[in-house]
Structure formats: C-alpha cells, structure tokens
Amino acid sequence: MENKKKKIGIPYALYFYEYYPLWKDFFNRLGADVILSGPTNKKILDLGIRSALSEVCLPVKIFYGHVLSLSERVDYILIPRMVCVDKGAFFCPKIIGLPDMVKSSLDYLCPQICPVIDVRQPYSTWKNSLLQVGQLITDNSIEISQAFSVSWENFQRNYFKNILFSNNSSGKISQKNVQNRKKTIKGNEIPVNIAVLGHDYLIDDSYINLDLINKLKKMNVNVLTPDMVHPGIIKKQLKKLYKPIFWSLSRKVVGAGFYYFEKKIEGIIHLTSFECGEDSMVGELIHHQSQKHPGVAYTEFVFDEHTGEAGINTRIEAFLDMIRRKKRYEISFASPR
C-alpha cells in the first residue's frame, strides 16, 4: 500500500496557464501522478457558476468548476496561494484569497495543498514552499530538493516553449505581407497582423474566448499574443507609465500592449472578463495609449458566462473589414514612391 502513487489534481485555470509546467515536472520527479482537469467545457463552466457567488468574476468561477471536476478523482488538489512573485507586484486579491474562497464555498472537497508563494518572505519563496509540499509525497528530503532544482531549471529555460495550449510559436511580427502586398490584393484575403492582449487564462482557454484565436487564424490573421514579447522589452515599455503597475499578471499585458502600439501593428484586441478588477484599470491604460496611436485599430471584448458566439463573430468580422478596407485603400491610392 505504501507504494501506491499519490494522485495530485491541478485545476487548469487562472495562474496555472503559466505555472503548470513547473508543478507537473516537480511532482512527476517525486513519483506522484499529476492529473490535469482538461480544457474548460460546458460541464465545468456550469459547475463553477452553480457553486460560486454571482459577483465573482468568470475566471474564478471556472476555477471552481475545474476544482469540482477533479475532486472525486484525486487525493489532493493543488491550490497555491500566489501572493507575490516579483518584488513590487502582487496577484489580484481574488487569487490571493483563492484557497480560502474555495474552502468556504465548496463542501465535500478532497484535501487541498495550499502552499504560499510570496518571494518577499524567506519562508515562502518558490524553493521553500515547494520543498514543503514535497514532504507530502515523500520523506526523502534529498530527493525533494533535487526534484526542485531540476524542475525549476527546466521551467526557467523553457518558459516560452512550454506554455501549454499556446497558439503560435513564432515571436516576430511577420513582414511578409508588407512586401507582398501587391500580390495579395484579393478581397478579404489580405493577411493582417493583430495582437490579442489579455491574461493567459483568457487567450489560451478556447472555451471562454469562444475559439477566438482559431477564428482569427481562419480569417487569415497573424495572431500575436503577450507571450511572444520578451520580458526585457515588457520591462522597458512599462517605464512609460506614470506609476508602476502592481499586478504581476497585468504587467505583461500592458507592456506587450504598449510594445505592439509602438510597432504600429494593424489591430489590437483586448480581451477582458466581466467583473475583472485588474482589467478595468489596465483597460483604461491601454485605451489611453490607443488614442496616442490613431493608426492602430483598437477594440475591447468583454467575456462573461453568457457571451453569445454570434455577437463575437460579428464584431470580429467588422473589425477585420475595417482594417482591410483601410489597407486596400492604402495599397491602391497611397502607394509609396
């Protein structure tokens, strides 16, 4: 019985879009089974909506759904309390309070593992928190610290590659369509570059965003996301702000957004979820920036649990039509000499 593998469930929502590879690698090295709640679907969403307070934001409701869908299949559910991963920035209050929220609104859950990740405190850095979690799986402390250092190294190295359902691997704005524009003047088929901004859990979850990324790709759009911008560039772009942003997840969105504006990409779509506190402020910053760059088309899509697919389709089509009409005009009449 002792040798029975422990099953650890990871709800695939919120911050796990970024940190899942680290946890999975770590647990696998310790010889535990990691069970990932699959991509979001109707059942998970319904479970979440039914059990969460109506005022909670959509991503957290979906997190609830993932937790419930795992509960009966695993020994432990991993819900880290992410407080602070780089100095001067926090996660959103709902993420900090997430373990307590889950505990108080869901009954009959299997035991949860809730390590605190707060790099400002020596006892709750990544290393110490993971080492502590490791003790649940095995008593061998040397094995745990080895597992940590290997998985941490892998995570750092592959940070860009292993973001799971990531959609596009190329990190550069395609210059092709600029060069070949005379050839591609065929109605709707003009390729355009569009940056989709937003948190990872909105961009990569094709159920919440109603398969937006694939829809765009089918319409011959080169989709760019915040993940494709190098952290160094993001850091540089953030210096434009009057006051630094104190939310880790939003830093990436704003920095990437500012970068794409500067690069004069054709269009920018900002994905937000209803009731998201960060997005309400960050959206304003990006909107403000968009007014300084009138050449870049900008729009904002708000997702909630009722978002109708037809509505989104119409908006995407209108947005693309607008950009393409402008481009056609530029190609036909304003050709450079």
Binding site: E55, G88, A89, C92, D100, K243, I245, F274, L285
Partner: protein, 367 residues
C-alpha cells in the same frame, strides 16, 4: 496654490488645517450629489469601482471652479485603490484640464522623488516643525470627529426627537473645522457630549446592535451608502462602525510621527485567521475579522457594504457566507453601484432588522 481634496464623509474637516493654514487656498469641494455621481460615471472606465467614479466627479467639479492642485491618496496594491490617482489623472488630462496631481502614498523606490516634491509643495516654505504641528492637530481633529460620529450612532436610536443627534454633530463639525488649538477641541467635545446627554433616553429597551463592515469609502460616505447609518438609527438600531480613518491611517503612523497601538489590527487578523489567513488587500481580511469579532462581542448581526466589482470585498463576501453559517450569525451584504435604488435598499434593510428582532424575541441570542 489653489488645492482641493476629494470628499470622504466628515473627515473633510481637516482641509482647513492642512491646506489653508499652510498658506494655500482651499477650494471647497461641493458636497457629493447626483451631479458628482453623474459626472464621475460619465468619464470613468465602465467597470471601475464606485469610489473612483465619485472621487473623479469631485475632481471635475473642483477643477471647474478653479482648483489647480488635486490631493489624492495612493497605495501599492493589490487593491485597485492604489492605482486610482493614475487613472484619474489620465482621464482628466484627456478632458483637457490643466492641473497638478498631488499623490500622497507610502514611499517606494520609484516614487521617492515625487513624494518629496509633493510634501515640499504642501509645506509651502513653512518650517518643518510647523507642518508637523499642523499634521498632529489634524490628527486630533480626525480623532474627535470620529469619536463624535460614533457617539451619534449610539444616541440616534435613543434620541427624544428625531434628528437631534445629527444636528448636534453638524454644529460640532463646523466648530471643529475652524478650530485652531487643542483647547478649543476639548471644549467642543465637552459641549457636544453634554448636549448628547440631554437628548438621550437612557432606559430604552430592545435596541438591536449591528456591526457595519465592508469597504472603507462606501461605509464612511453617507451619500454613497444612501445614509445607511441614519436609516438604521431611525429604525431603532445601534450601529457599531468598524471602519475608521483612525484605523486606516495607522500603517502610516508607523513612520513614528504619531504613537498609537496596533493591538486592534492584530486582533482583527487573529479573528479572521481561521477563515482568511492572508491579507487580500483593501479591507477584505478586516471585514471577515470584524464579523467574527462582532459575533464575539454579542452583537445581533452585521451589514457588509460593497461597491460593485470590489475585489477584496468579493473575497470577503464569499467567505462571510461560511462564517455566517458556522457561527449562526446573520449577515447582510449590500452592493452599491451608481444605480442602487432607494426603495429596494430600504426593503432589504427593514427585512434584515425584522429578522434580527425575531431572533431576539425567540431568544436565539440575548445580548
């Protein structure tokens, strides 16, 4: 320089001390009104929380009557409040106003220069000792204002004639505003307390006690919470207000300008620990802790006030459901946005108070 402050309940009285006495001109912010709300809502980002919108409305109103500098508090998260000033500045600049935003917040490496400039601007070439004296006096004004406000909450359900306590408070506030030294504050306090005594019926029975918890701004600003404290008072309910500027300013007091104890804060954290073991910014943990404490103090119930979409309070609200169940302690959550209707609110409050009275009659709880 012509300076202005946003409105926050009665704490506005310190404007006279902090601005006029420092040699600036205070542009009186109009009382919060429908117009303030409309202006704020019109120009704010749609999903921002209510305090940002109202403060923005305040700023537009004062800029229209000639303010040049706007004083606003800031913070470092994770609550959105810390980023208000930046967004408001952006919005106001877009609208074409010319002004200076004077943000007062805790020092961090990125803002030390700005903060130093702001403090020097407020100091206005007066002596440091003079400024410190004025700050200390303003702190005394705040303490007295809050003491009288708390007194009113006790007197209101027991007053002989409706509105008496509120009238006395209003008179005292006017005096506090223009007071210049500690002696006059002591006198004002003595007068007010005596007057309160005169209008109180002492042996009134069956008074329900309710804790008021939740978001700071909404619980302190009567216009925003639709005069909740008054409404409850006239229903014969004694409100125990758990938020105060005193408690809010205490982290800043740690800079050792003023010596106060932090015992209360520790107690609240301790009480909340079982349900919410980590601070979530804003008043999230405080709200949970205060409800647990209200239960220990044997109050009859608690009312949580929340601005729509407030992040920390939503965490607290989720957890309060559990706290309320565990402790068998009634709580009511009131969410405010720019469209909160008066009658719906009245109905909910009355129903809640009826429930508390019923519980007491049945002897579920005797306090």
């Amino acid at each position: 320089m012509k300076l202005a402050l946003p409105r926050l309940g009665n704490i506005y009285v310190v404007g006279e001390t902090l601005i006029t006495d420092m040699g600036h001109e205070l542009i009186e912010t109009p009382l919060n009104s429908k117009k303030t709300m409309d202006l704020g809502v019109k120009y704010s980002p749609e999903y921002c929380c209510l305090p940002l919108k109202i403060a923005l409305g305040n700023f537009i109103e004062v800029l229209d009557i000639g303010a040049e500098g706007l004083i606003m508090a800031g913070g470092w998260g994770p609550c959105r409040f810390g980023y208000y000033a930046q967004v408001q500045r952006d919005v106001l600049l877009d609208m074409g106003y010319d002004f200076q935003m004077i943000i007062m917040e805790l020092p961090r490496s990125s803002n030390i220069k700005m903060l130093w400039d702001n403090i020097n601007l407020l100091r206005n070439r007066k002596r440091w000792s003079y400024m410190l004296k004025k700050f200390k006096f303003a702190w005394q004004q705040i303490l007295l204002t809050e003491e009288l406000e708390n007194k009113v909450l006790q007197v209101r359900p027991r007053e002989k004639e409706k509105g008496g306590a509120s009238r006395i408070l209003l008179e005292s506030l006017k005096k506090i505003k223009y007071a210049k030294d500690i002696e006059s504050l002591v006198q004002i306090r003595k007068d007010a307390l005596r007057k309160f005594e005169e209008i109180t019926i002492f042996n009134k029975k069956n008074i329900i006690k309710v804790a008021l918890v939740g978001e700071f701004y909404v619980s302190l600003e009567p216009f925003v919470n639709h005069h909740l404290e008054e409404k409850l008072g006239y229903l014969g309910v004694e409100v125990v207000r758990k938020n105060s500027v005193k408690a809010w300013m205490e982290p800043i007091m740690r800079l050792n300008i003023f010596k106060e104890s932090f015992k209360e804060e520790k107690d609240i954290e301790q009480a909340a620990y079982k349900y919410l073991s980590h601070s979530v910014g804003g008043e999230g943990q405080t709200t949970v802790g205060n409800v647990v404490l209200a239960h220990q103090e044997e109050l009859d119930g608690a009312i949580q006030v929340v601005p729509f979409t407030c992040m920390p309070e939503i965490v607290a609200e989720t957890i309060l459901k559990k706290v309320s169940e565990d402790l068998d302690f009634p709580t009511l959550t009131l969410t405010y946005d720019e469209q909160t209707g008066e009658e719906g609110l009245n109905t909910r409050i009355e129903a809640f108070i009826d429930l508390l009275r019923m519980r007491r009659r049945k002897g579920v709880k005797v306090s």
